[in-house]
Symmetry: C2
């Protein structure tokens, strides 16, 4: 028999990509559920509707990733299981105290997740990249969040300082948990920094985080907040 | 100019149908958000995944109804606004104390909502009926809930009594709030019972509720619970 020529075509993708889909899948599921939960305390129907739509989009991403894992012959739950600890820990450690913090969490969290997916999509097979890019689909969310947050800050300027601090904490926790996952799972670490094989350079991981933090800073500037 | 020949084709549907779509839309949004919120306390990834998928489906129904209202030239938020009070009141009065109660709420609530939609779909224009039937799309949910609840009751038989009482309270509250909405909005009441014009027979509303309660009883029997 011939050796497998195309991993993607044969339906075999490296363990690290399966891991990655599991991590993203559980992250999307949890983000959707948390956002829905936060939407219940949103002030007014407009914000609630918007948060409900965002939550629905996250849950749909989760569905797609589950379907892909299933097509690859994996049990989505089994693949996601190792990532429940770090993802849940992130959310436990970043419970919004009000809906403004919840909105910042959506904006910062979605933004950094998108940048992160974009980084790693470079290193995976075509079918997985296509899926990851679909999950990144631009949505009109951002405009709504920026407008709503700008309005809230204009109404109550001192809130800006609290929200800037909160955003910084979110990024710190996101990076800490990602690092924790990457260090526990060497194959995944290799994938994240584009290395193939042993001897992954940890400095590469640091550089990736630096890029993510730079992009985060630009988003904070859009809100008029100190990064 | 010719008079409007077909309400549905021209995009004009009676006010009562618009009302109905608003009520269903907000009910689906809220059911999705509540279920997502309850999923966060589900024991184990399996139940969480299942509840997340169900919540995603409800939010997608909400999206479709919003899109239809938009196509009909209405602002979905404005149309839903009158129904936030009764729907929120239903949920405030029926907060599950644990995930088993949450699961019963999904099963009972989805079931009665589906039967209710089926009743009223008889009285609306084709396009709206098509949409309502899409929202009813059979899903594999039921099997999962029945199996999970049966397992839980087998493990802890005394729980059956508490869950039966809980289910009865859910139906009572659902009917009370529906009645409240129908009595406040005469056009909607006419639609619910298939009347056209004045002098709607309130007894018809009672008969519809009786049919819904009968179907609810069959679902309870599937769980081995006293209706």
């Amino acid at each position: 028999m011939n050796p497998v020529q195309s991993d993607a075509a044969s339906g075999h993708v490296p363990e690290a990509v399966v891991d990655l889909l599991g991590a993203i899948g559980y992250a999307e599921l949890t983000a959707g559920l948390r956002m829905a939960s936060d939407a219940l305390v949103a002030p007014g129907l407009g914000v609630r509707v918007w948060m409900g739509r965002s939550a629905g989009a996250e849950l749909e991403h989760f569905e797609r990733i589950g379907a892909r894992l299933h097509d690859l012959g994996h049990d989505p739950e089994a693949v996601m299981a190792p990532f429940t600890g770090p993802v849940d820990a992130f959310h436990e450690r970043t419970r919004p105290r009000d809906w403004l913090e919840a909105l910042i969490k959506v904006y910062v969290g979605d933004g950094i997740a998108r940048d992160f997916y974009r980084e790693i999509a470079q290193h995976v097979d075509d079918a997985s990249r296509e899926l990851i890019e679909a999950v990144l689909e631009a949505d009109a969310q951002e405009e709504f969040v920026v407008r709503t947050l700008n309005d809230a800050i204009e109404l109550d300027p001192p809130v800006a300082g609290r929200l800037a601090l909160w955003a910084r904490r979110l990024v710190g926790e996101a990076i800490a948990q990602t690092q924790y996952v990457a260090l526990e799972r060497e194959a995944l670490l290799g994938l994240l920094v584009g290395g193939h094989g042993n001897g992954v350079d940890l400095a590469d991981l640091g550089r990736m985080f630096t890029r993510l933090i730079d992009l985060h800073g630009q988003r904070m500037a859009n809100l008029g907040l100190t990064p």
